[in-house]
Subunit: 223 residues, 4 copies
Amino acid sequence: MPTIAKKRLEPRRKPRQARSQATVEVILAAAARVFARAGYAATTTNHVAAKAGVSIGSLYEYFPSKDAILVALTERHVDEAERELGRVLAALGAARPPLDEAITRLVRTMVELHARDPGLHRVLFEEAPLPAKLRERVALLETGMAAALARLLGGHGFDREEARTAAAMAVQVAESLTHRLVLHDVGRSGAGWREAAEPHVREISLLLLGYLERKRAGAAVRA
Amino acid sequence: MPTIAKKRLEPRRKPRQARSQATVEVILAAAARVFARAGYAATTTNHVAAKAGVSIGSLYEYFPSKDAILVALTERHVDEAERELGRVLAALGAARPPLDEAITRLVRTMVELHARDPGLHRVLFEEAPLPAKLRERVALLETGMAAALARLLGGHGFDREEARTAAAMAVQVAESLTHRLVLHDVGRSGAGWREAAEPHVREISLLLLGYLERKRAGAAVRA
Amino acid sequence: MPTIAKKRLEPRRKPRQARSQATVEVILAAAARVFARAGYAATTTNHVAAKAGVSIGSLYEYFPSKDAILVALTERHVDEAERELGRVLAALGAARPPLDEAITRLVRTMVELHARDPGLHRVLFEEAPLPAKLRERVALLETGMAAALARLLGGHGFDREEARTAAAMAVQVAESLTHRLVLHDVGRSGAGWREAAEPHVREISLLLLGYLERKRAGAAVRA
Amino acid sequence: MPTIAKKRLEPRRKPRQARSQATVEVILAAAARVFARAGYAATTTNHVAAKAGVSIGSLYEYFPSKDAILVALTERHVDEAERELGRVLAALGAARPPLDEAITRLVRTMVELHARDPGLHRVLFEEAPLPAKLRERVALLETGMAAALARLLGGHGFDREEARTAAAMAVQVAESLTHRLVLHDVGRSGAGWREAAEPHVREISLLLLGYLERKRAGAAVRA
DNA sequence: CATGAATGAGCGTTCATTCAT
DNA sequence: TATGAATGAACGCTCATTCAT
């Protein structure tokens, strides 16, 4: 079953009443905890239902399959990421701080987006079979970030083309290191995750700034 | 429940006849393809046996469990990595080329180690529950690389302590970017993977060189 | 590997609804028939489920393993034995009939306990790997019987010590002959088993009475 | 698969050469040990072959199935029993010792026949699915013993009919108690089994003598 | 709407048996 | 004849999913 969705993945019932909405919340919260602890394969729908204090029948009332729950969880994460990154990017566009500060703030935002619940995000982005549609949404988010970053770089002495490729790479790198350093090295979430993540933020920022500086200078490596 | 190994993971029968050896090869080859295509969870021993053109009984003659196949595959990869990286490191130690060339050759080696079969390596290092012993071997390989790289940096104006921390980080980063850029972006293996991977090699090298340069200067980012 | 219990053997779900209770009954009834006909080894959970007209999943809903079914069946038998023997022993203690009548009634009770379903009991006590706990319960039942019988003998001219050893032996012998004569000789249960068993009751009683008489006299056999 | 033989159970090749004969012996010896230790179900043909130091192919050269080995083992036991019991019966017929001595010697023979390897005999007669043919042979042996014993009793004041029924019962009882007391109570064979078994011999003899005495007197139990 | 008993395809695995060498 | 690699039916068991209540 590689990445493919063969069954309904959208939530079933658009919950209109407050009670239903609460049930959905309780299921998703339970699922987040169970997926984070047990991993994708070892998580069973019955587990999730039990943890949520809801009958298995009710769970299937709202989510047509195990994967649908995972998709809903992922969508929430992407929603949040869009919101947070949009906010930061807007602020940076308005305030126009020095490049190192801009980069650091962007990286911090990305790291914090994942550090809050590393276990869950590991499952979401490494173990789970996400449907193509969601993967596209994630890709789109990255493209958007890259475009915004390119505009930012334009204001710091990069020419248009330079800025575009450098920004695209930077986004990839940030994503990549975030996953590596945060998901694998930071212990199980818990309080204090924000402080625990800060060294990673600095190091990743340092890396990106070094790269961008070289790029702006038009540097190239000898083959 | 990742990382846990509860059953025998060593190959069962030390194959003595040529026929058996061939069977082992055919099973591992099939398993590599199935794991790469279907992912860890969706790979079944029956699929592997069928793909290998071997009865399920024969598969279990040589591998006591699904995970044992995975372990064997991983060990082959680590064996190869140790061999290749050792060779390159030795060559660099002897030839003492400029830093940018050294870094580029190391990165190229790492990238090529993974680019040959990206799908498989994604499964091996992201999805699969590797036993502690193997994880240690991998960690040891990284430690060794970092040490070798630190020696290299020592010959390029880094002081001892600087070299150690920078090397450790650089290895992490190289690993990380290799996985991200190579495993996720490079299409399904096939011929021409070497050429397809080269831009990644350049970009990762550029990134590392920028980082190392900053480190050598003792630079720090404003918080 | 007899006697070993490695997995859960207690029933899984305490059935709360009437429907579940019926399912449990139907499974146990089917299992009794299948075990009796096919023996322990040849009985499969799928056979039992099929015979019960229940899906294999339902079977495992209530019993975590094949052995758990066996244990449940055995416990029912031991429950019944405790009840019946307790009742008879109490009656004998109250009525104080002549020894031969007392022995005969005890033997009849034991024989009837097994004659109702000889095939099943053969499996239960000869073939099956019962967990230690259950074996203890059975042993306790025998100890209790021996104690009660010793008291009875005390009222028929045995001195204390004589009564104890003779009673212990008598219980062993009764058990043994019950199994041999009833389980192996009486045909497949069916109606009329009570009448078919009666000659055995008489003969076993005769044997025990002869033995007890000799014991009381303090007789010994020449080596 | 209850008790029924669906495949060939006779040894395949009547081994004429000394080498083959030795192979058969070595297989049977290994099988006896493995069956005794592991029980019927847990004994695998590969185990037996390995223990015998013979390839699995060779094992199947001589025995067409797992059960065939068991049958061969059983037949050896029955052969031995016929021989031993025949010898003792003949001696008793010639010497005409007192009844208690005769009974004791018979019982001792039966007990020793089983006490030598209790584990194996438990498997042979309780766990294993013996084919009808063998069961008949065993039954025939018992019939023969009963007839011989009846003749013996005829010489000790029993009338013809009395002797016949008493002898039949006595044989059943001896068999039964032998299995119960010897197989279940005597520890795992080993040296000293002969001494360990002697108390059982005495007790069983005592029991039978009490019974026979009552029978000769024409005693009956009140229903 | 909620419940939870019931379902059954499919999994990983074993082992008696065959047959090419 | 002897070998042991290969076979595959069958097993015990799980869990995502359905549906009668």
